[in-house]
């Protein structure tokens, strides 16, 4: 596919958008590098240098006629896990590698790949996850039901508190403190509830367990900088959560 100079610049921007989206959806660093590499090559790049870490993407494309473009993208938004979006972007890249589409169409198609979980699914998912884990860790069905109800409170905080918090660390600390206090006070009035099982169930909604696994895998497969960055971030998130719950247990010490 022969591109004009303007199209080449547009292509680079579209590739950076795709890479950024993949990272924010929780894709591994090597997957992002690999996808951008393949896509660039499919568009006729003679050389593709892609450098991705969790906070930055730098791409240099050299086309056949020697024209060279470099752009970087700073990633500041918090990471999430959106597997549907990763799947859509993967399909788009496969389609593109098979039959490259004009860069402006690629940019539009990439924009369409956003997926947002609807509110009912978000609530049901959180309740199932939290309730399921409370019973999974050894709680009774009542603990499971209580964990599902407290999950709704966590959802409320995620929707209202998270957008106004400066970062995930502060959100985790405040959200876990409030949730912890609510759980401990409820357990005081309803002794049938098992605090340990309920907190263990609710904690699963916020614990960066998947991210820790991904970060360790990044380290094992050679993406050391990204792995270490992600790992440190996860440890900070988990520590903030622990501080929040610990403070809640201290504050409601008499209840326990």
């Amino acid at each position: 596919m022969t591109l004009t100079e303007k199209e080449e610049e547009l292509l680079l921007g579209a590739l950076l958008n795709i890479g950024e989206k993949m990272l924010l959806c929780g894709a591994e660093v090597h997957r992002v590098e690999n996808t951008l590499q393949r896509m660039g090559t499919a568009y006729g790049a003679r050389e593709m240098d892609v450098f991705v870490i969790t906070s930055t993407i730098i791409v240099t494309i050299v086309f056949g006629d020697g024209r060279e473009y470099t752009q970087s993208r700073r990633i500041t938004s918090p990471y999430g896990t959106d597997l549907l979006c990763i799947e859509k972007l993967n399909l788009l890249s496969r389609k593109c590698c098979k039959e490259p589409m004009p860069p402006e169409v690629l940019a539009l198609e990439a924009d369409k790949c956003a997926s947002s979980v609807s509110l009912p699914l978000f609530l049901i998912g959180s309740m199932l996850a939290s309730g399921g884990f409370a019973v999974f860790f050894g709680g009774t069905l009542i603990d499971g039901a209580a964990a599902a109800v407290f999950a709704l409170f966590v959802c409320l905080l995620q929707k209202t508190l998270a957008p106004v918090c400066p970062n995930t660390v502060s959100f985790n600390a405040i959200a876990t403190f409030l949730t912890g206090v609510l759980i401990c006070v409820s357990a005081h009035f309803l002794p049938v509830l098992n605090i340990e099982m309920i907190i263990s169930g609710v904690i699963m909604l916020m614990i960066p367990g998947i991210m820790i696994t991904v970060s360790m895998r990044d380290i094992f497969i050679g993406d050391t900088i990204s792995g270490v960055m992600r790992f440190v971030e996860c440890v900070l998130h988990a520590a903030a959560m622990a501080c929040g719950f610990m403070l809640a247990i201290f504050v409601t010490g008499g209840v326990l």
């Binding site: 990763i86 399921g132 895998r217 610990m246």
Partner: protein, 150 residues
């Protein structure tokens, strides 16, 4: 054990919804969660070592992801990540915190180390299978290229 497996399925289903999975992929992911926990329980029972159990379960998740990716033409992550969900050591993290609160520092150290080791075992299991698949794919691609040249 059956209750745990059912709960692992339900919890993974919930997380699958939060991860944006839909329809067939959601249920396959949840089933992966059930199987990964079954694998963990069986290996833990046979080896009497929790870390080996988590290592094997991590390897299973990666294998499950790679196989499903080839069958359903989707990235392995889409199937591997939900399968890992039941293995995340949330309970041992709670116990670490609880031990710190009651100033049981030995307990906190033990639970904290166990939490980190579980995460390490899962990641090691996942990475081993991933590396094996990459090696196999590279060998396959080389052979294909050689055939093409001939």
């Amino acid at each position: 054990m059956i209750i745990q497996l059912i709960c692992a399925f339900v919890a993974t289903l919930g997380f699958g919804m939060l991860f944006g999975l839909r329809g067939k992929t959601l249920f396959i992911g949840a089933f992966g969660g059930l199987l990964s926990w079954l694998c963990c329980l069986l290996v833990m029972g046979a080896q009497e070592d929790a870390y080996i159990g988590y290592l094997a379960a991590g390897a299973f998740c990666s294998l499950f992801g790679e196989i499903c990716a080839r069958i359903f033409k989707a990235p392995a992550t889409v199937f591997c990540i939900p399968a890992i969900v039941p293995l995340v050591p949330g309970n041992s993290l709670y116990r670490t915190m609880a031990a710190i609160v009651v100033k049981d520092l030995d307990g906190a150290r033990a639970f904290g180390t166990a939490t980190a080791q579980y995460a390490f075992s899962i990641a090691a299991g996942v990475s081993v299978i991933w590396a094996a698949f990459v090696i196999a794919e590279n060998i396959f691609n080389r052979k294909k290229k050689k055939k093409g040249k001939i």
